[in-house]
Symmetry: D3
Subunit: 330 residues, 6 copies
């Protein structure tokens, strides 16, 4: 090998994450891109699939733009002091390969297979969609050993039934997950729900199955600390999944999404809610529904990257003691 020699004035800059943020190839957080699972703790995986949408497509372009904006994130979490790259081996595993993009169920089978492989290597997965239909095949892998709890932040319950012949579109993953015993509905909380509906019982499955639905109005009345307390209460101490749909955010923070709903969560509320979950036993997480073609100047992907960093910190902290060199510094 004849390697180009590294910079020498500032040796710390050998770390790509320390370089000026407009440089380099945009992997997630400018992490190493690797398909080698050996010794890895957390793998971030793009899932560029939007074949499950019911309205505006484009989330297939989400992983790339979230990667692009993620260079604007740095390495320490000033809010919690968590340093996810210290003591945890994290990599960008690239995009989940989908060989049957024209067949929803075929694509889902491939996604499940990919995540099974990663889980088999005892690597925790952090997925970036893609539309929300991908959470179902991910859960098939992540919850293979038994149903999980879930903190689900979204404008929609996504517990709908069949739509135009499909049981697996992006409005239905969590009904299917309950039916497949991947989620324990009594340990599921859905935060931020709002918007008009086409059927007054559209999300009835959520409540009837035992999920805690915390609509946006309640969130607005009671605040993020209340939602946090409820979330901790509902998921308890057992393993849980975290699914963050970017459309939970107010459209001014996330115009680039397929199904925006007026009047959502602000980013500061979302960030604080997520940081408050530090220490919960999350065994996997996803960020979904960033749709770059509908974005404005990259702000949705930028906020997606900021949320993704929080999800990463949560997963890092969930694996046991985590370094917090910055705790109290901010």
């Amino acid at each position: 090998m004849t390697m180009i020699k590294m910079p020498k004035r500032y040796p710390e800059l050998a770390n790509p994450q320390m370089r000026p943020r407009f440089t380099g190839v945009p992997t997630f957080f400018r992490l190493p891109l690797s398909e080698d699972l050996a010794g890895l703790d957390i793998g971030i995986i793009g899932v560029p699939y939007d074949g499950g949408v019911t309205n505006r497509p484009g989330a297939r372009h989400g992983p790339r733009e979230v990667r692009n904006q993620s260079s604007l994130m740095r390495v320490f979490n000033e809010g919690t002091g968590v340093a996810p790259f210290l003591g945890r081996r994290v990599a960008d595993l690239g995009d989940c390969w989908i060989e049957q993009p024209y067949a929803l169920e075929g694509a889902h089978a491939e996604i499940a297979e990919f995540f099974h492989a990663v889980k088999a290597a005892e690597v925790t997965t952090l997925a970036v969609g893609g539309d929300h239909s991908i959470s179902l095949p991910i859960l098939r892998a992540v919850a293979a050993k038994g149903p999980l709890g879930m903190v689900h932040i979204d404008a929609h319950c996504d517990t709908g039934d069949d739509y135009l012949g499909s049981r697996f579109h992006h409005g239905a993953p969590f009904r299917r997950a309950v039916e497949e015993n991947l989620l324990d509905p009594r340990r599921v909380i859905q935060i931020g729900i709002r918007g008009t509906v086409n059927d007054p019982r559209m999300w009835a499955f959520s409540r009837e199955s035992g999920m805690r639905v915390l609509p946006m109005d309640e969130f607005h009345d009671e605040g993020w600390r209340f939602a946090l307390a409820e979330a901790k209460r509902v998921i308890g101490e057992a393993p849980a999944y975290l699914s963050f749909d970017i459309d939970s955010l107010d459209p001014v923070y996330a115009p680039g999404t397929g199904t925006p709903e007026t009047g959502g969560i602000s980013t500061i509320e979302a960030m604080r809610l997520l940081r408050g979950l530090t220490g919960c036993r999350f065994v996997g997480a996803d960020l979904v529904e960033v749709s770059p073609p509908f974005d404005q100047g990259g702000i949705t992907a930028f906020h997606g990257a900021a949320i993704l960093f929080e999800l990463l910190c949560l997963l890092a902290a969930a694996e046991g003691d985590v370094q917090r060199p910055g705790a109290g510094a901010a």
Copy 2:
């Protein structure tokens, strides 16, 4: 007639409002487009006129883009449970025809004539502007039998006096409406007022005539519930009009408007305030000042459509008992 046969797998989809939201011709909420007033309860009317602006034009394009974005709304109001299309006959009446666009007073006369015709058929009007000057000719029709109360949500009082030779520009409609005995100022509340002014007495008419001015700072201090209580107190039980200027919203929610003012109402506050007015005796309403040429990715028109849906629900509920199949479901 040789009609194309309707879809057959999902008969409910014969209703255009149930079809995928990217399809079809964008009438308001994908309602039938009709100029037939017989048997109608509520007519939604575009008023594509912006000849009354003092600065940035473009609101003439408002009705079209609000129609376009309104397909993103569904049919039940998850917040109040109101189902405006059940038990009420609602139609898109098309655009109010203006044959004298180069003559402000001529155009206003035509708008008044159009709304008189609709009122004469006992159809409640919901107008989409256009600039705010259109509220005056609309009130000439809607308040023909006597002065009304009004909930007026706006960044500006719009009770100014003559400007550059015109008595009827978009900063003056409500002074004229009081002078013409169309509004009872003691039953008028103006919510969200703010911004710099060119004359410290610019909006003095409002207070001196007896209107309740609730500036943005007071709204920010006291909250939407207080503003709601004040609004109900001021308009009381008698008939009232509702005028919603999109520039009442903060510019991040509504950049596409002619006269933005820093620091306004958020959409969730606006939505909750409006929903709280359910049951008030509104006899007409308008949404004005959406200016698509200044919009960013359609977000102003999107929020305009969301507000319009709330106005429609208020008018539906004001006509007596309304079906609420979704009450308590969210």
Copy 3:
């Protein structure tokens, strides 16, 4: 019926096509929206389907935005003098209904069924996609009586083979159409072909089946008049179809498309080429691949609408003598 009375100062304005262009509900060219085929000559049909794309989606939103921009077109063709709405009954038939959007072949079957129904009523179809995969099911209806010739204007031959398990994606419709005996390849010309390829034999089917491929370089060298002459020579006097992919245009004219290719046809060349085809025996046409989420300020849809107007004029002229009140006027 209690109709709102029509404007009276300018009776000609009872015709929606004559009204100011920012007003009204955007049907194609502000034509009547009707599902009644009786007595109709030409029906313009939206096909909001993009399940066949291989890269960037969004063409499902094409029909709506082409409708929106089509209000900027007027009623006489200054270039050819053709008046398509005189002596021809033309309507906007709305959007082709697709009940199986998650199943490519199912959706195609429904498209074919819809166009069969329209053809059965002896109405000529002008389709607005949607991705290019829709041309196959349309041809199944339009070419039901035997193979047609075709003028195909595109950056790509779209005669590819299977891709990721699908035989019917948007890069393959015309290979399938030849295989299904819907097209006579010796009477097919493909104009504007260019771009990088992943396989040097990617479009080999075109030449080997006998199609005339006229690549962009040849077009650039020889000019639109040569391309026109070639097109007339190839299709001859027999019935032919016309398929216009917006990506044939240079990306500066059509950024809003899924598969842009550097260095294409200018709009003035395209307009003159199309106008030159007046009198050819076209029995159907389509405009495809306008993808609004990737558009910039509506320019792609605007140019799509201008092209659509030319296609309409060609179909009007193909049905026999057409009124040309404006011939020679420009």
Copy 4:
């Protein structure tokens, strides 16, 4: 006076036109802003009026954005060698003041009065609109001593008749100018005409009055040199006016305009055509219909500024010998 001292390393930078192009207050070409006409040769005047449009407004914002982009122009014309600021005193006269913006004819009277005042001081006027209706009151001042010839570059003839009650809208100025004996139609050439029309005789006045109409197709066939020769032939040696409507350019160069038409002139063709007119006896000129709200990234205003620079050079050269220090240098 206590003046801030001027920069000292590079004394030539005391000239604002030489400073970095992102600095300073954007007058036209960073010229001095002055209302003093004494000793001036050419005055550039903004006319922020768009009350004459028939469709999309916004040209009132044209002067400001053309000023903004004009900082990107430098001081020598590389094409012709003309140095318009050497030997000619040029100033930005600010915006023509309009006190009756709500009354089309009143506004026109004020524009005429302003230009009369400037002409009375023997200052040549270069106007930046605003919509095309402003050319009529300008001609009332500029052609006060007798009818002029005109080179008119536009997509539309603008010789229409009354529209919705107005005789003076932006589609009619040149019919009125002929009627008022401000133009000699036999010395008028209209270049770039195209687009659909609502009436086959829409522009018949042009031909019937004797104007030379050179449609876009002829321009495309024969080229800019032919158009230039025709223009010189038609206007001859006598005084002439030059009116440049930005919509003459193809919409890819000028999306920000009220009435775009597919398939127009390219900027290089326009620049060369204009440069070829150097030496003609132009006694005034205008650039109209730049509408910033419809622009994309300022490209229309940028091209407007480039055209404006050419118009300035033509006026500078029309006043007699002009310095050409750069002739032959490029």
Copy 5:
């Protein structure tokens, strides 16, 4: 001199600030542009320099776009009643001239020299950047007589150390200012601090030197009134500077900035906080980091102009009794 005569119907319109807001040349608030310091109270100065950025450039274009949007501001502050142009002579002094743009320290020396000259004339300076590195040379002039207190509103402390060989980049000005005895750190408050960091001790200098750091989370918990009280307590009665970095605002209000951080201050909070500081002894202020190339529809510059107006009112009020004709009017 031969002046164009002023408008006559509305003599008050001789004041450019009273004219329609889309007209005229955009100086700050349409004030006179002058380099004459005699008799002036406050001078607004553009500092178009961004050579100190560590990531995204573009703030060099800030002064021009803030000037452009500032026309949307009027003359009275409805919140505080302050009328900054009554009893205070205010001018746009143009852009600070920088002759050494390629040498950071040279440029800084020139900025300092410019501000020294203005201060020497006893004119209070209000600067518009440019990146935050400019605050250091400005303080060298403004704090020449001794260290000042400071209200610093920002997402970042900007008290970092050397970066890639520069001691004077935009992340370090206030460390240098303390080292140079320009600021008294015990009288400095930093409000709005947040975001990820690359070093847990990145902003340690702030706390260790004695500054009051009020992070965003504390602001979110305690509110703007608390932050205001803290700010007044920290700066006390002695002279202070005010530095407002637009990235203190949430990115939805200010996407056009070089270093956005999720979850910031809203504009209404910022406006109220600033208004609450009326009466404090501010001896200078700046607004920095507006980066137009990253803006969306001008909203960042619009908000920058609104903040600038508040800063101007604070400086006007700091100079002694100020006219408040509008107090209590809103």
Copy 6:
């Protein structure tokens, strides 16, 4: 190593370049990212530096966005049949590291050092800027053995002299390169030159040193084939460099650049000109001045990627026989 298993249905898709174009991490053309020079033929290198601009910055973001858009390119050149990835080992070498971004000459020294290292390994370099100042340090490495010829496609000659104290800004690289004996001016051709100038002798160095300047007007008159013939004649058979400034293209193709000039080369002309140079002895090339903050929807970066692919093909062909599996296929 525990690798994620590769896809299995379509083994060819193990090649990232064959995967759907919206997937994966955007290296240049989705090539392997490697700092290992061993055995490499061509290395593509980002140079994210824009410290040499004289007006609008942002080209530092160029490499990233060109990488992003380059996924839209495929692997065979349909125009020339060249297959650059067959028989040539090509890699993305990442971004040239710059440790002294605040010091123009320091940064240039680092760029030169990086390219020296790559050349030392006998790897041909293809650079993506960055502003045009980078060509000088690149030439210091590439032309280390003696002066080269050059095909320089640009709107500006870039042979200016000192500007504001810098000898090395982006308007001067080729004057310096001649002075440093890196270029043989008699073997240099500059194509596309145009625009206004601040000094009639601004580019005099070009002609006086013996370069062939082919201005845009000559290009427009004589066509791309003439320019190609001239280019071949001027550079002859000896080694040459190729520098492509994106601002050579007309601004409609490349709005995202720092110094746009009206009326440039179209992409089809540029592509054909470049393809015609196949076989010339190019020993290095660069693409510069793509400035994403000023881009519109990525079109400039898209065209930059298309140009980059042509440059790559030229370098591949310059190294001897190259595979052309697609020759004649298009």
